[in-house]
Amino acid sequence: MEETFGNYSVIGKAMPRVDARAKVTGEAKYAADIELPGMLWGQIKRSPYAHARILNIDTSKAEELPGVKAVTTGKDFNGFKWGWSGPTRDEEPFATTKVRYQYEGVAAVAAISEDIAEEACDLIEVEYEPLPGVFDPFEAMKEGAPLVHDNRPGNICVEYHWTFGDVDKAFAESHLVREDIFQTPRMAKGYLETPAVVAYWPGPDRLVFQGAKGSPYFPYRILARCFNLPLSNVRVIQPFIGSDFGGTKNDMTHCDFAAPMLAKKTGRPVKLVYTQFDTLTTDLRRHPMWITIKTGVTKDGILKATYVKAIADGGAYTRMSPLTMFLTGTCMTLPYELPNFKFDAYNYFTNNPSSAAMRGHGLYHSRFAADVQLDMMAEELGLDPVEIRLRNAIENPEPGKVYETINGVHMATCGVKECIEKVAEATNWEEKRKTKKVEGHKSYGIGFSAATYNGGTKLSAHNACAAIVRVCEDGSINYLTGASDVGQGSDTVCCAIAAEVLGVGLEDIDIKRVDTAFTPVDPGSYGSRVTVLAGQAAMNAAEDAKRQLVEVAAQQFSVTPEEVEIKNRQVFVKSNPQRNMPWERLVRIACYETPGKVIIGRGYSTQGITILGLADLSKGVGDIGTNYSFTAQAAEVEVDVETGVVKCTDNSVIAHDCGFPLNPPAVETQVQGGSYHQGVSAALYEEFKMDQGQTLNPNLIDYMRPRAYEAPMTKVLHVVTNDPYGPFGAKEASEGSCCSAPPALINAIYDATGVWIKDLPAQPEKVFWALKAQKEKKQRKK
């Protein structure tokens, strides 16, 4: 039987997603599926060099090729630069003077067919002066190293230094102090839907853009500035989005600039679709990071202090690196109590493709390091991994109280203890951990971890998001929002929230894709912000519409509005439910008899702005999240000690505190998917292999993504904490489990083999050599 939560009509129980039918029948249109009359095909000309000065670009031969309709280079953009924020605008639509990573775009072509566009790109002659490059942060930081950006000395992209409390004193007072270095890999986002866009100009100063963009108001603003248009003359219509995971589908790619420019030049719609090769060589990646972590604990395993030095490869351009480094540091004070904390972060420019946000953004690196090191310290102290976590876990604050960390992070709810207890119970942890299992050359082990993630992420600019609930005269409802569903299920929960508030069914609500001509502005789909913030907007908009209808009902029943209730499509007087009318009748009366009332509810989220202020990125204080989810995970692995191959078994349990599961199965898929696709994959499978800025595995055969055969049948347990800052108590679901999976697996590999793998991923070769070294060490001791 399906588990249900709370006493509600619509939410808190399983509901099919509102977009599932369109997706399962193939009707859902993604950007690459769009075709318009007279449409041309675009193609990008890319640099073969990772670092080179551009001396000349000759497009004449390409322009002469029959079938070619237009060619564009960076010069057409008149020096326009863009970036994640005002101060970080360091990237051109196409490189004009210098390329900074391999396959950076230098020109683009529009032609009557894909083949001709490709041929034309080959005819563009670019004269380069190759330059020496830097390909990891350690090369980049050397004195006299080549500069990626001439105006950025030392190749420093981001640098933070924060101190909270007195770590030196705390280390001196600690019973045990450990320092370890951990490494996280360069990772692809893993979406199958590559960047794609169709753009056209319905008038000389009006642009329509239909791209695979998870945050459609990013291109809305950037393109308006780029083409010098009033904002409202840019219309972004969002197709279905085939996953996002941060970065590339938030902000811009070459195709997002090329299509509008080529469409402007030709007066025809232009479509560009990236290949998976384009995606894997040029799309934004997860930052590879080197984390040095020093931690002090008492003899009882209580955390006294942590010092983290994080070094990251930011790649060629700044993109979202300032936020990445902030997130990497800020979470160190969650989910365990930490009284002293110091953080030094260095993010360097290199001649690699740019790094950016990715599911589990920032926290994934440092929480991995901290949670593995916690197991190491537990072992030295003779403590059980569950016990040391329970001793340090932050208590769930009493209702009405707020817990504040040493770096000014606030939370009203924290279910981490309950998560840990539930997972320990479900896996029969103590027994399981005691029984060492070896079958032939297979060794089994189980690992534990706990994690956190911010929900309702709020940045320093345009945080508000809004919703419009329009009640149509037949009783159906149009739900308009600028918030995007990229697969996480937010369209469904926002509709469900509106239905719950209005007292109607989910099937009564119709939601369309974002269209900036009609939908209210929204920052975008990132930082697990949509359900928390857009959900509040949905609630407020539905309440506004309901208030208008209730007034009409009150007149009809000759009672006060407070005496009217709407439930299950029935409108009635609370004290006398016999006096009632169907929902449709009330709406008809409101629309026709009042006379002509237009029922439109408006609502916007306030939490993102007003609750406890905003974070200060450079000082490392304050809240990036509106609230925080908590996760605990136990995972069993099977290690083939002869080959080093590690597999997850189905003995995998995650307990997740998402505040309140609005749609429980959707929370489960989010948690299972976050754990497997971006967590387990980072721990065991995925890594870009690089050589002097060249990606050596730019296809989905050599770049290993996790598949069904190895997928653990992870069981998800819900922990309900009803967060006061989330709609109906909701927080985030999925990014937490993305952060809990890598430490759980690495801890499990240690349990199985006695070998610590500190640099992810634990690919077979790495595990093989680690086991061999361990064996040799043991033999030497004998």
Binding site: T25, T194, G242, S243, G487, Q672, T714
Partner: protein, 161 residues
Amino acid sequence: MKGELKELKLTVNGKPCELKVKANTLLVELLRNELKLTGTKVGCLDSACGACTVNIDGKAVRSCSVLALQANGRKVTTIEGVADGDKLHPIQEAMVEYGAIECGFCTPGMVMSAKALLEENPSPTREEVREAIQGNLCADEGYVKYIEAIEIAAEKMRGGQ
């Protein structure tokens, strides 16, 4: 010759089609660009992701791995041909009801792999289900609910519903 058109006869979703195609046209290009059946997705064109999976004579085939001409005389079923009008196929129904679908980009390919499996093997073991969708990469949902939805669909189909 590079541009020469060849005759091609095949059945797509029960409808006979006669058309002329270039020899180098992939089946997925024919389906998406010529026949406008865009439910079949392109993820990689390397036969690695399975988003373009269709059924050819009942077998799951990645439509980027075969030329259109190789489908000559064959029966091709795409995601658009799976539901019976408004009535979803039990596999589709299970995926919708059970909450298996997230972004949906891999879903058409996943349905086609599952359909080929269940038509050949109505009572697959869990390992057989996993194996059948091993070639279908998903980016976000973890495969758990896909696997369970296919098992639920198999049960329903065996029950003659």
